[in-house]
Amino acid sequence: MENSIVRAGRSKAPVETVMNVIFLICGLAAVVSVVLISLYMVFSGAPAIAKIGPLKFLAGQIWNPEASEFGILPLILASVTATGLAVAVAVPAALCVAVFLTHVAGRRTAAALLFIIELLAGIPSVVYGLMGAILIVPLVFKAQTALGLPMSGSLLAAAIVLVIMILPTIISVSAAAINAVPEQYNDVSLALGSSKMQSIVHAIIPAAKSGIASGVVLGVGRAIGETMAVMMVAGNAPIMPELLKPARLLTVGISMEWAYSSGLHREALYGVGLVLFAFIMIINVLLSSVLKKGGAKR
């Protein structure tokens, strides 16, 4: 029996199939991008590392492209130190702000403050770089002159800028985590006689632990990947990191010399990219395992 419904269905079938395929392709775009990025980072970065020698590349202390010396240990250490410092300062501060937003401030105040936090997250990194260069670098100058060091951009200035830049990420993720803690935790804790602050510290924050941890990991990722702001304040000399001396981070290592590099030098920059990419991937895996753990508990 042929009726109009069957006929209409059949005539529409090709369009439906085509749309299905088109949507599938769109859906796979992210997957394809990640695969392509991973492949290209490895294939463009690995040859240089092999040519230079993995050990010489990763553990070499001298970066001097003119002399074909490509050791990126100072860059790696500078990135790790700046990120570590920034996270160590930003996490307690961000936690305080998150607690304030969720449990101290009234609803209206919290909404207004949250808007400012979102704004802070949306400010372009070059603007942070400019502010750092104008406001923070001169502050570090004072410390440098006091200690008889030459005035320059420094690892400390980079770390301070990074603190400001990762605050919004950690604040908004931990505030969301704290908000997601079931009301009963607080009620039970209060009923047992603890004060509001005790229940925040002993019941709510421990319950929001995995959410807060994912915020911290996101902050680490943001800090280690930040380029322009850091480039504008860090002084960028590829020497072993010291707090008040100029430092070149991995990200800056790529962008600094990009424009005038060629041959093995450019390939070495791809290699730096690969190392940075490896760091980011480790952080990503860490993040998803943190999230999984949090999910399993609930």
């Binding site: 749309m19 299905n20 796979l28 992210a30 980072m41 770089g129 005790q198 504008m232």
Partner: protein, 292 residues
């Protein structure tokens, strides 16, 4: 055990509590005071530098004038191009995850890669974009290569926001459409997408914010200067290299020490970012109002 509890209703002030409140209050005050200080500082320093001539001319090295019109045009071109690529693909991807995908595994893979993409820093996108778009696809360092790179960067934002919007469309709408005999694509086109439109607009606004602020990747794939006004048509111009406002800010403030121009651009960027954030808020508010 607490020795000093005076009874079940008696409230004992714990000094530790007061201290913690103080610490929390101080940190919060410091963070917000700093943010406000930053914003005010940029506006005060920058707004004086935003002149009509700056906004409407190209830089002229001979008579030593600086203008950012070429950078404004480049920024507009890159925004248009990126959105033209990223919005259909991103929204399509969200539709696929939400409406078509049946295997949970595939959904998980797509969501994991989307998450991964959003965690990759822009300098990595820059290196990848250069190797893939500029060299492998032979697009050279150009606005189009920049837009393609940015497309991948904003994809996670668009997918996630559009997905939220699609999820918010009630299931009964889909069932109603199917019950009336609508095919799936017809239902998506006439019911789902219109109902998710404000979410999609939010995705666009968030992407514009990301594009306007992007610098590290564009420095590598789209070029580091904006000296001339476009001579040819849109499609000729996008094959050329050129920098956006954010990259110009870097170039003027860092490479050339022209801090006033840097602050003027910074103020401009800040105005754009505040405007975008406010419009996202407004759309969100309208959505909530509509739901009631």
């Amino acid at each position: 055990m607490n020795r000093a509890v005076s009874g079940i209703t008696g409230k004992r002030k714990r000094p530790a509590d007061a201290l913690l409140y103080l610490v929390i209050g101080l940190f919060t005050a410091a963070v917000f005071a700093m943010t406000v200080y930053f914003a005010v500082y940029i506006f005060v320093k920058g707004c004086a530098g935003i002149t009509f001539a700056l906004l409407t001319t190209a830089p002229n090295p001979i008579i030593r004038t600086i203008g950012i019109l070429p950078a404004i045009i480049n920024t507009a071109y890159i925004i248009l191009l990126t959105l033209a690529f990223a919005v259909p693909v991103g929204v399509g991807g969200a539709v696929y995850i939400n409406e078509y995908a049946k295997s949970g595994k595939l959904i998980r893979v797509i969501e994991f890669t989307t998450e991964t993409l959003s965690g990759i820093p822009s300098i990595i996108f820059g290196v990848f974009g250069y190797v893939f778009f500029c060299v492998f696809l032979n697009l050279k360092v150009s606005l189009i290569a920049g837009a393609l790179t940015l497309t991948i960067m904003v994809l996670p934002t668009i997918i996630r926001t559009a997905q939220e919007a699609l999820k918010a469309v009630p299931l009964s709408y889909r069932e109603g459409a199917a019950g009336l005999g609508a095919s799936k694509w017809y239902m998506i086109r006439t019911i789902l997408l219109p109902n998710a439109s404000s979410g999609i607009i939010t995705a666009v606004i968030l992407s514009v914010g990301r594009i306007v602020g992007e610098s590290a990747a564009l420095l590598l794939v789209a070029g580091g200067s904006a000296m001339y006004l476009p001579k040819g048509s849109f499609f000729e111009q996008i094959k050329n290299s050129g920098s956006t406002l954010a990259v110009e800010l870097y170039r003027y403030a860092y490479s050339r020490g022209e801090n006033e121009v840097g602050f003027a651009i910074a103020a401009l960027l800040l105005i754009i970012v505040i405007g975008l954030n406010l419009s996202v808020k407004l759309i969100g508010k309208r959505l909530k109002g509509g739901a009631k």
